[in-house]
């Protein structure tokens, strides 16, 4: 019964201690939201103090702080300081009880995370604290209890607390990334956690399967598959076996869920011309969104659902356009280059990221929705395609051939900290960042 309880909830937050007055709100100025990657905050994450003894405690006191450091570093906000430079070792010194902040400010750390770990009967209890070393203040402290196997969830939950304390946003630690991989010899859809951990195959169509798209609640995934020999649109519930298929004549491609509704836009060509339509989540046409002879494809919604950006060849080359659904007005967004496709509207609503071709190579660009402030984010490193925003708008996932076969990479929204997300057999393409999962 007790095990069952733990399994259901995964982990239990025991207590949130020390509600330091004024800290949780005052903390937002740690990370400059408008340009968070300009200056990374130096952070120290020493090894955790062992409260119990034994092999598992020893292991967790090293692996858990490593995981915590990696998880926080993933955001691009922090510079993790080398443990070699630390003046104190919390595993032996009694730092966990009382912190001598000078030990940390003198090596340049502005933030400090300490932890204590206790393992008993295969259950782990971890206490974690985030300090501002200059203000000599505890910013957030939590104690978690769960099964040893849940350590990753525990660390992520605390990292979410850290990010919330510092930015006022819950971050991306409960998100996933869907992508296409050819590992089995066919293109199939896979899902991994935000940091590339635990990739698993979702579809087993044994045919070409493409273009995953998450619903706003993360419960549905729409994609195109040739499972029945032609490109049809599949709308699949991720928790059960429910699903719908749109199998009209021609192509049924590029799904994009309407924000916070069980509706999605997709490209259908049953009229012999690829046009964008709004569909119900069950695949019925609500209305047609584009009217233009020639290709209209790849819709992406503004967060308020009032506008849709898409690719059109109406001016002779593929360019990105924005249609305001209230006024019906369409305006062209991209003017540089002769091949701009794969738009993705930022979660904050102010930018569109896309891939543009120059000299035969695709690179990733970001532009304001007013067409101003064009920035190229990738340079001279193979083909870079399919950008997709993290739900907090701070990171962009994309595919690149910079190391040979196409793989999935992540960078900040300013193009910094470009790194490979995971290594898998075959080629990986079309990554799509999930929304924040409510029940994760």
């Amino acid at each position: 019964m007790r095990n069952c309880w733990i399994k259901i909830f995964g982990l239990i937050v025991i207590i949130s201690f020390w509600a330091v007055p004024g800290v949780s709100r005052a903390g937002y100025d740690y990370v400059d939201i408008s340009h968070p990657f300009l200056r990374k905050i130096p952070m120290a994450v020493p090894l955790f103090t062992k409260v119990s003894s034994g092999h598992e405690t020893d292991q967790l006191s090293e692996s858990a702080p490593d995981l915590l450091a990696e998880t926080l570093e993933f955001t691009g906000f922090f510079k993790l300081l080398d443990r070699e430079a630390f003046l104190v070792n919390p595993q032996t010194d009694a730092t966990f009880v009382s912190v001598n902040f000078h030990d940390w400010t003198s090596i340049g750390a502005e933030l400090l995370v300490t932890g204590g770990v206790l393992v008993q009967d295969n259950l782990v209890e971890i206490e974690l604290r985030l300090y501002d070393t200059f203000k000599e203040q505890l910013l957030v402290g939590k104690r978690y209890k769960g099964q040893v196997a849940d350590i990753r969830k525990i660390i992520r939950r605390f990292c979410s607390e850290v990010i919330y304390t510092l930015t006022g946003d819950r971050g991306i630690f409960n998100t996933e990334i869907a992508f296409v991989s050819t590992g089995t010899g066919n293109k199939e859809i896979y899902i991994c956690e935000f940091d590339g951990y635990n990739p698993r195959q979702l579809t087993h169509t044994k045919n070409i399967t493409l273009s995953p798209a998450w619903s706003s609640d993360g419960e549905w995934l729409a994609y195109t598959s040739y499972a029945k020999g032609k490109p049809d649109l599949y709308i699949k519930n991720l928790r059960g076996n429910r699903g719908y298929v749109v199998a009209k004549k021609g192509i049924n491609t590029t799904p994009a869920w309407f924000p916070n509704k069980f509706e999605l836009a997709a490209t259908l060509s049953f009229s012999d011309d690829p046009e964008i339509y709004l569909l119900t989540g069950t695949g019925k046409i609500i209305k047609r969104l584009t009217y233009n002879k020639g290709i209209d494809v790849s819709p992406t919604w503004s967060p308020d659902g009032k506008s849709v950006a898409f690719v059109s060849k109406r001016s002779g080359t593929p360019q990105i356009y924005i249609k305001n659904l209230d006024s019906g007005q369409v305006k062209r967004l991209t003017f540089e280059g002769r091949y701009n496709t794969q738009p993705s509207w930022s979660p904050r609503g102010d930018k569109v990221v896309y891939s543009g071709m120059e000299n035969g190579h695709n690179n990733i660009f970001v532009v304001g929705i007013d067409g101003q402030g064009l920035i190229q984010l990738t340079h001279n490193e193979g083909d870079n395609e399919s950008p997709s925003w993290s739900p907090d708008g701070n990171l962009i996932v994309f595919s690149s051939t910079r190391e040979g076969p196409s793989r999935i990479y992540v960078m900040t929204s300013y193009g910094t900290d470009q790194r490979r997300l995971l290594v898998l057999k075959g080629r990986q393409t079309e990554p799509k960042w999930s929304p924040r999962m409510v029940n994760k």
Binding site: S211, P231, T253, D273, G294, P318
Partner: protein, 183 residues
């Protein structure tokens, strides 16, 4: 002496007579042989002619079959090629499509699928739409030449099924294509 004379006489008359008879009978035999020989020859000649005709017919049938097969092979193997990011039919593509229309008219029973393909340089989602446009340009052209639309199905594979996996202009040119299959 008298007796010897008779014998000589007899020999003079009888032997040639015999000879005559013999030669006569021989001649008759010979005539018989030549008649049957002629019939035989004629039969052989006729058989030969028949055999020739038969072989000619086989050859003609084979040629015709070859021509049919060749026309079919051409129909299936000769792809329609496109410029980069274009679904417009070039004059050369139109010539090839006229031959394909002819073949479809000569073979009024089959249905054909037109596959639209792209090179890998564009992006995947756009290429699926472009492949669709290419296939439907080809279909419209054939329908204008009198092929019933119901006999033509289109499918786009975008950049998913290149004919040549190379990463150079020659491979890309080969991959920007419409390919025909029979259903």
């Amino acid at each position: 002496m008298q007796k010897k004379l008779w014998i000589i006489l007899a020999m003079v008359f009888v032997i040639p007579g015999l000879l005559f008879t013999a030669s006569c009978s021989k001649k008759a035999v010979k005539e018989d042989t030549s008649l049957s020989q002629q019939a035989e020859d004629e039969a052989a000649e006729k058989a030969r002619q028949e055999e020739l005709a038969r072989q000619r017919a086989i050859e003609e049938a084979r040629l015709k079959e070859d021509a049919i097969q060749k026309a079919k092979d051409n129909f299936l193997n000769e792809d329609i090629h496109f410029e980069f990011d274009s679904a417009t039919l070039t004059p050369n593509a139109q010539e090839i499509l006229k031959t394909k229309a002819e073949w479809l008219q000569n073979n009024p029973n089959g249905k054909s699928t037109v596959e639209g393909h792209c090179d890998e340089r564009g992006t995947l989602e756009y290429n699926l739409a472009l492949g669709e446009r290419r296939a439907s340009s080809v279909k419209s052209f054939l329908v204008d030449l009198g092929i019933p639309a119901s006999r033509l199905i289109t499918i786009s594979y975008g950049e998913e099924r290149p004919a040549d996996p190379g990463q150079n202009e020659a491979a890309w040119a080969k991959n920007r294509r419409c390919h025909f299959t029979l259903n």
